[in-house]
């Protein structure tokens, strides 16, 4: 193993008293470094939570937590160390353990105490802790699938059009500009919302329209000034010479010659363009020859001299790095023409975006969910602005003392701002406490910044490195050692990418220069990097064949992992398909949408049909699917059955006898099988859980037998699990939801244990494989067309950031509009990112890289033609051409295009073998006698309850009062309220209660006697458990029971608050009531019989009447046998 050349930098990075920005290229072992520093910091803090480590993904956070834990555990048990590097970690871990001991942190048992998080979860934590400051109010659930909410916000914005809202005219203008195509504008506004962290700081919710305009004008002016200023700086040595040449040329073209060299202000733009046109040709390349068209006619003497002078200057200028691009950019440097379509569009947008953002907030509010971006924004809000910062320590109960951030190159502006806020006051603090400073370490690799399309901005990494945060300067450390790849691979990468990356870092242009890596592992192979070129009509097929053969070789021989890394999913699909044919197992997760699986498509058809009888397509498709496989002729019979103005719904047709007269025998057999399954499925709708309902129908139809291969059963399982998820989320049987989710799920991944991996380059970030193949380098990603809206951030020379935004004005491409300027900028950034993407791919490899591409040859020159500048191949084209192995085109029998051949109908051969599934039949539906109204009114029930309660209370009093006291009345009123009676209902009810109690207290011989405390063994609300006549356990409650002292009889009394119907005599009423309560009283009587031998008498006491009705037929004489002991 080679020496670790950057050991000093690594050692320095652990120093807990300093802050760092570490550039850590691929394979440099940065995670270990982060862990070492983390461990080191642990011994300097009071609580482990005070060290905040931020990672890019949840996976990375989990990995870091576990590696820290592992380091601590190994130190605990004293595992031996293998190398000095581990020894460093070990020593630091031991110190950390000591701190753990001192602070009784129990780190080893409480992994949650490691404050190692993604930015998302950190922000979510802040919003949870500060519900008011973050304006969340409480934890909102964060959703990944928020596009429907964005769409809703746009629709709400559209609604303002009809409401004379101030932004209505802006929305209208925007719509009109895009041909009143609401769908299209909706799409682009949705895209804006998804990226709103980039613009909301400038044109977000609280911004006034006029301010927005002024702001944008200033931003453009500053941009132009900066660009021209830089240009002027670069050209400074040539100013005089160029001015002379410009004057010469103007004179020859009969134009008024300039009197001075152009200055860096927008007014001089035309002069700058003149200069640009002199130096560059239209395509933006350096001018190689000059003619009289440029004002340099051929001739002798002065003419000749001037011409030569110009060519001389041109030759020198070509060596100035970055000059050419800047000169070219002059063409599109925006000029603000207030009336121009393009500027008007910008203004409309800047006025409507705040309102759009506000609509989104309302939508979030309505649904109680938010997106990640909102969480981040709210977290920032909660931290307060610089004038009124939030005292975070108060909320957390601790100060954040140290921060570590990984993958900083993929930082978006939100994270940057967050760090800024978290480190407020650190500079001063550190000055005051130099012994225990707060520190920051950011780690990243600009060369691996590949998330520009998601808003990551590598410029922020460069900026942080340059400026630090809040007075905390970051020392720049550069790691150079590559522990991953063999020297051969590293050398190739060095040589190839050295010249491909820009020569200088540039914050504004997101340019990162290459930094040279040093291999730690020795070279292992002769030719670690291979390049293969294919050409001709069948180049693609040949390429796929070659790659698959290579993979087969790797599989057959030896060990080690191999990854095929594609720029997009579609680049990998042909390879997966071929590997499948060759039966080479591979691990290719998340490449094909689940919706593409035939089994899933059929399940979806089944769902659609069951969801909607009117979905004729789904119903016909159901009949055509493999489980039924009706022939066309029979389908036609179904379609044409029954004569009517329109066709009958398929389901009703299937049940009509008429149909079966026309069907073929085969059709009949098939439908006879299908029908009972569907009938049962319809019968069971909403009676089974969603999944079971569909699954049973699917099994009944013979679903699994229709699967094309056994792996697709897994797809069916995934689909059905999605239905479970629908139940969990409570969305029910919602086809739109289902289809949307299907798009986000992927088909079964092949063999997860295979050594062969296929994935996109973006997914491969952070991973490592023995060998790497990057195919189809020449292919372009699917273009997203002409971007309708463009925006970008601009940092001026003072480091102030501003925001620029433009909409496609549909004008010419070289017009000096903001749109064109931004378009060029974006293109350039994308090109830079393409290079970095290839770098990321190549650096995944330990020992071998295989690059392949289709190449065409120029018929005239015989040279290979350069690929598109948007391809991955372009940046390394020079190297590729020099080193490639060329495969001769060969005539391959082109496999027949599947779309050209006539697909056959696939179907189960006959009635499926398995019996038709049987649904539950054991629980026949009951008829419900009553519908929505309940038998007695709510008020009556409540009155009954409270009268019972009042009587119980009274019966417990030693002395029965003559009337209810006011305290009693208040209490009973309250009891009625508790039952749910309020307002006038309460008054009426209370009146009824009081009158019943009044009746009772007045009724000496019934009411007062019943409640009297003069009885023996009296109970009110007597609760008993008994075994009823059916042998079941039943709890009963007897309103009143006692032994009459005089007669020795035990009374069992049930209170009733019913009253006679109008015109009903008291006797008739009493007879009716006792008939209906006889069974109940009997149950009471028989239960009480078990408890005592006394003679038993049952009665109903009518509270409203003050009338005691003895149910004589239930009288039971005393007994002296078979009596249980008294219940305890």
């Amino acid at each position: 193993m080679n020496e670790v050349a950057d050991a000093p930098a690594r050692a320095a990075a652990i120093d807990p008293s300093l802050s760092f920005c570490v550039s850590a290229p691929a394979g440099s072992g940065k995670t270990e470094l982060l862990i070492q520093r983390y461990l080191c910091l642990l011994s300097r803090v009071e609580r482990p939570e005070q060290i905040l480590a931020i990672t890019f993904t949840r996976k990375a956070a989990a990995e870091m937590r576990q590696r820290v834990m592992h380091a601590l555990q190994s130190a605990m048990v004293g595992d031996p160390c293998e190398n000095p590097h581990q020894q460093v970690t070990r020593t630091l871990a031991q110190q950390a353990l000591a701190a753990d001991e001192r602070g009784s942190w129990s780190l080893l048992s409480n992994i949650a105490r490691f404050n190692i998080k993604t930015i998302d979860s950190f922000c979510a934590g802040l919003t949870r802790q500060m519900p008011i400051l973050s304006q969340f109010g409480g934890q909102a659930s964060v959703q990944d699938d928020v596009t429907p909410l964005y769409t809703e916000a746009v629709i709400e914005l559209y609604k303002l059009l009809d409401e004379e809202h101030p932004v209505a005219c802006d929305v209208a203008a925007l719509l009109l500009h895009f041909d009143n195509n609401w769908e299209r504008v909706q799409e682009l506004l949705v895209a804006m919302l998804a990226r709103r962290e980039q613009w909301r700081g400038y044109v977000g919710v609280p911004h006034a329209p006029a301010a927005a305009e002024a702001y944008l004008i200033a931003a453009v002016a500053s941009l132009v000034q900066d660009e021209l200023g830089e240009l002027a700086r670069l050209l400074a040595p040539y100013t005089e010479e160029l001015l002379a040449l410009l004057q010469f040329s103007a004179a020859n073209l009969s134009l008024s010659p300039p009197i001075r060299f152009p200055r860096s202000s927008a007014q001089d733009l035309p002069a700058w363009r003149t200069l640009k046109n002199l130096l560059l040709i239209k395509s933006g390349d350096w001018r190689k020859a000059v003619t009289k068209n440029e004002g340099f006619p051929s001739g002798k003497g002065e003419l000749q001299r001037r011409k030569e002078q110009l060519l001389e200057v041109l030759a020198q200028l070509q060596h100035i790095d970055g000059l050419q691009e800047r000169l070219a950019a002059v063409q599109t440097l925006p000029e603000i023409e207030a009336a121009s379509v393009s500027w008007q569009l910008v203004l409309h947008l800047s006025r409507l975006l705040p309102t759009l953002a506000a609509q989104l907030l309302l939508v979030f509010q309505k649904h109680g969910v938010v997106d990640h971006s909102q969480v981040a924004q709210s977290a920032l809000l909660a931290l307060g602005d610089d004038d009124a910062p939030t005292e975070l320590a108060l909320r957390l109960d601790y100060h954040i003392e140290h921060i570590l951030v990984d993958e900083f190159q993929d930082t978006a502006i939100t994270q940057y701002e967050l760090l800024h806020k978290l480190t407020r006051g650190w500079g001063e603090y550190n000055e005051d406490s130099p012994q225990t400073p707060r520190t920051l370490m950011i780690v990243g690799d600009g060369m691996q910044s590949i998330y520009g399309f998601r808003g990551a901005n590598v410029g922020l990494f460069l900026k942080a490195r340059r400026e630090g945060f809040n007075g905390v300067a970051l020392q720049h450390l550069e790691l150079r050692c590559n522990f991953r790849s063999d020297a051969g691979v590293v050398d190739w990468i060095n040589q190839t990418f050295m010249h491909v990356f820009p020569a200088q870092n540039d914050v504004q242009r997101a340019q990162v220069r290459y930094s040279h890596a040093t291999a730690v592992r020795p070279a292992a192979h002769e030719q670690p990097v291979e390049m293969h070129a294919f050409s001709g009509e069948h180049a693609r097929i040949q390429e796929v064949e070659f790659i698959c053969a290579h993979i087969a070789n790797v599989v057959a021989s030896g060990s080690g992992t191999l990854a095929v890394l594609g720029r997009s999913r579609s680049h990998l699909q042909p390879i997966i398909k071929r590997l499948k044919q060759l039966q080479i197992p591979c691990n290719a997760p998340d490449l094909d949408s689940l919706a593409q699986s035939p089994v899933v498509a059929d399940l979806l058809t089944l769902c659609r049909a069951l969801a909607n009888d009117a979905d004729r397509l789904a119903w016909m498709a159901l009949l055509r699917a493999p489980w039924c496989g009706l022939r066309l002729a029979d389908l036609l019979c179904v379609a044409q059955c029954g004569e009517g103005p329109t066709a009958a719904p398929v389901w009703s047709t299937l049940q009509s006898a008429q149909l079966y007269q026309t069907l073929s025998h085969d059709g009949k057999v098939r439908l006879q099988h299908l029908l009972p399954v569907l009938r049962q499925a319809r019968e069971k709708r909403d009676r089974l859980s969603l999944r079971i309902w569909i699954e049973q129908a699917w099994l009944g139809l013979g679903g699994p037998q229709c699967a094309p291969d056994v792996a697709s059963l897994q797809d069916a399982e995934s689909f059905l699990q999605l239905l479970e998820q629908a139940d969990v989320e409570g969305v029910g049987f919602d086809l739109a939801w289902l289809s949307r989710r299907l798009q986000q799920c992927y088909m079964s991944a092949g063999d997860p244990d295979s050594r062969i991996h296929l994935m996109t380059l973006h997914k491969a970030k952070g991973l490592e494989f023995e060998r790497v193949i990057i195919p189809q380098l020449d292919r372009l990603p699917r273009g997203d067309g002409r971007a309708v809206l463009l925006w970008d951030e601009h940092s001026n020379t003072l480091g102030e950031r501003s925001f620029l935004l433009a909409a496609d004005d549909l004008g010419p491409a070289d017009a000096p509009t903001l749109y064109n300027y931004l378009k060029v900028q974006r293109q350039q950034k994308t090109l830079l990112e393409t290079t970095r993407l290839l770098y990321v791919g190549a650096t995944r490899a330990v020992s071998g890289v295989l690059l392949t591409a289709s190449v065409s040859w120029d018929e005239k020159t015989g040279l290979p033609t350069a690929p598109s500048k948007h391809s991955l191949l372009r940046p390394i084209w020079q190297t590729f051409v020099q080193q490639m192995s060329v495969h001769q085109p060969c005539a391959i029998a082109v496999s027949v295009d599947p779309l050209r051949s006539t697909p056959l109908l696939l179907r189960l051969p006959r009635v499926p073998v398995e019996a038709v599934v049987d649904y539950a039949v054991s629980d026949p539906p009951q008829r419900v006698g009553r519908t929505t109204a309940r038998p007695d009114s709510f008020a009556e029930r409540s009155i009954g309850t409270v009268v019972h309660l009042a009587l119980e209370e009274l019966s417990r009093r030693p002395q029965l009062p003559a009337t209810a006291s006011t305290a009693d009345q208040r209490r009973w009123a309250m009891a009625l309220q508790r039952e749910g009676l309020w307002g006038s209902e309460l008054d009426t009810a209370l009146h009824t209660v009081l009158s019943a109690i009044g009746q009772t207290l007045r009724a000496n011989h019934s009411g007062r006697w019943v409640l009297s405390s003069g009885h023996n063994d009296a109970h009110s609300e007597w609760r008993l458990t008994c075994v009823n006549a059916q042998g079941n356990i039943q709890d009963i409650s007897i309103d009143r029971s006692f032994i009459d002292r005089d007669t020795g009889q035990r009374w069992i009394i049930d209170y009733k608050n019913s009253r006679p119907a109008s015109g009903e005599s008291l006797d008739a009423f009493a007879a009716r009531e006792s008939a209906s309560y006889k069974v109940q009283l009997m149950l009471y009587r028989d239960a009480v019989r078990q408890l005592g031998a006394e003679p038993l008498r049952c009665a109903l006491y009518f509270t409203a009447l003050g009338y005691l009705h003895v149910v004589v037929e239930l009288d039971l004489p005393a007994t002296d046998n078979g009596i249980n002991a008294r219940a305890q």
Binding site: K59, R113, R128, Q129, P131, I132, F136, G137, A140, W182, E183, Q186, Q365, G368, T390, E391, L396, N612, D613, A614, D615, R616, A618, A639, T646, A648, P649, W651, L688, S689, I692, L699, D709, L713, A716, E724, D734, A736, L904, L905, R907, P909, D918, A920, S922, D923, P924, Q926, V928, A933, R970, A973, M974, A975, G980, R1023, L1024, T1025, C1026, A1127
Partner: protein, 898 residues
Amino acid sequence: MAPGLYNITPLEPLIEAGFTLLTPNYRLARRIKTEWNARRIAAGDRVWEPLSVQPLESWLLERWELAVSLDLVPPVTPLAPAQALELWRQVISQQATHSPDYHLLRPSAAAELANQARDTLRRWQVNMQSPGIRQLFDLDRDCGTFLHWLTLFEQRLAASGQCTVVDCLAQLPALAGQLPTVRVALLEFGELAPLVRAALHAISAQVLEIKTQSPPGERRLHSFSDERAELQTVAAWAAGLHRANPTTTIGIVLSDMGHDRVALEYLLRREFDCLGTSYNSLPVNFSTGISLAQAPLVRDALAVLAMGLQHTTVPGAVTLLRSRFLDLPDAQGALAQHFVAQLYRAGREILAVSDLRDIAANMSLGDHQGLTLGRHLLALDRMKVLRRRALPSIWLARFSEVLSMWGWPGTQGLDSLEFQQLELWHRTLDALRAYDAVCPPVDFSTALHLLRECCTQQISQPQTADSPVQVLGPLEAAGLTFEHLWLCGMQGANWPAATRANPFIPVSLQSQLHMPHASPEREWAFGEALLQQYARCSRILHASYCRHVDGIVDLPSALLADFIPQVLPEPPTVAAQWTRSYSKSTLEKVADHQAPRLHQAHQATIKGGSGVLEDQSQCPFRAFARHRLGVAPLGSFSVALSAADRGSLLHAALFAVWGEIGDSAALLALSDSDREQTVERAVHAALSGVPQRRRRAIGTAFWQLEAQRLNTVLHEWLAVECQRSAFSVVQREQDITLQLAQLTLVLRIDRIDQLPDGSRVIIDYKSGIGTVQDWLGARPAKPQLLLYSIAEPDTAAALAFAQVRPRECRYVGLGRIAAANGIHTDISRVVKGTMHAPDWAALNARWSENLERIATTFVAGDAQVDPLAPATCTRCGLQPLCRVEWSADVSQAQGAAQ
């Protein structure tokens, strides 16, 4: 007999001694009572006084009620939690309207937190009047805001003579010695809040704490690759144990009940073989169910009530139609199919209920006039009382009336679960009444919202017999005893839980007073105690975790350190039954692309004019499916007008323009302002052809903009027309009938121009891109104009697409006369490589042959799945039926398998 879910033998002396038994939850109280009853029955008793056992909180509340009835404390009405929350919501929203700088995204979440904070503060007996405490709250904005809310909340309570449950408990400590005292035993309690402890000691003569003590049994730890494998193994494990001994008690604890219940229930059903016939005999109890609002019966009731709102959605209307609980007898008929298709065709997902009502009520088909749905909606609309504000209790009656009008809950009969849900629905309605205490009269939508909330909060759980297998949440299982207990989801990340301090109480105060969830130490102690309790209460304790959660590596909970790891095999991911069934499978392949010949009798029913031939040409199967099976995909929704509808508008406007101008001379003679006005009139004419309902649905702004757009593009187009040499428009949107291979096609030609020499130019307006490539080849993609040249042979001097598109207005065509820029006459060059036709006449002849042949194949029933190009399928939508995407793959894979 196997031991029950709780061993009450140790409690017997206490019961004898007359202790009241208090439990942490209802579940344990019920369980102990059941055990007690079983003992009494076993002892031969028929009647006995119920065992005095109940949850601590409810017992304390009963004591408070007793104090009220003894006039020891003044009577007040404790608000139920739902109403207390509502009061918080009102306080918060009232505050929000006063201070416009904060609008909370989730005010109700804030209400919950505030409610919880107040509850905790009372239980921990924090004196909120103390200036020191108030200062602490005022230090930060969150707690300060809460303090402010709290003051308002207390004021509201005081003003209306109400209190919350915790306020009742807070009165108890002062009652020491005044209530009849009892002796109590606390069963299986962990920590008690200071208030509860104080209350308990004040009003009881003696307080004993009892915990089940049994020797800790075996503890095993299992790990799985993912959650599914974990749940699957647990289900199989439970089923295996149960089969071996049906009375053995088995507990399954789900860490995340809400998330895993559905999956586990499915898997248990699969393992216990209770998916089909024996669906109702799963011997498992679940401690939770679904939200009542999700129960189909209630879901549909709420959906009906939602028809009283302004807007609904098309899928919402379709859901109503398939409800089993409503009186909609014609929901499966042809008219309903027609109705749904029309809703989809209209292309708007959200529609006004009034529009839905009109369509449903007025739709007709044969003698079937109007859907029942429409009649119900009309009746609903006539209930004017729904527009008046009222107290929630009054709304209940109104809601019930609406529902019975719709025939809810239906005539098909309910099964027992639905019957239980109906009962619960009635109880929930009653609960809504309690909002009278805190709400002013509310309008329809607020009342409905409250009802929906109540139903969402209400859990509907099937009442089933006690089963030996129990699925419980972590807290619910505490205290119950099991032979076998399995703890799922014991992930390192969740056990112990991360701290969740209440944000409305200063953190320092929380940790100082040891409030719940405030510190990692407390969470650890809590988790540890819980786990010890599980261990005490089970003979064999299993715990499991997943090595990966969402693809991210995770560790087991550190609480499981003394569990013994065991390796269980990973279960297969697909049900064995499926794999078995698949292995028996042999699919047959049938060549079936020939439908019966189009019968003479049916030819008249073929509609669609040139569309039939266009479809047949682009893909024969498509033509068969669309025109003979009558199948069309349900349209997709758009926010405004679909592209096709906008195209029609453009056609209408152009129709009007030329109706007025007539020929090129008139066009050129028009002054600018005349032209201006002509265009304006044409646009107006086009727009006024749109039905009122459509216009209303999209909103006036759209139509104004559309008018402007049409105006612009018409001017652009007229500029193109001005370039042409003389012509006059002789026909507009005229139908011509054409007989082709026994097919009678009715063609509508957008426009025919006549040139001075009498020759004609046939024009088709296109708002998309037109290209002559669409006419070439054996199967022309757009044969409409070609058909004309067959219908009227020799009259057409040129065919042209008039491409009327903003910024891209032009003619694109072929002919023998270059009647406009863009109409090419060099036929042989244009068609080179695709067709053999040296001149215009020859080309016409080819076209005639091609179209004749295409028509013949249609009539003959050719229904090959044979799209002209891959792009043909993109906008077709018939993929589920033609199966173009799968057939090829399927045949390959099957071939390989055999």
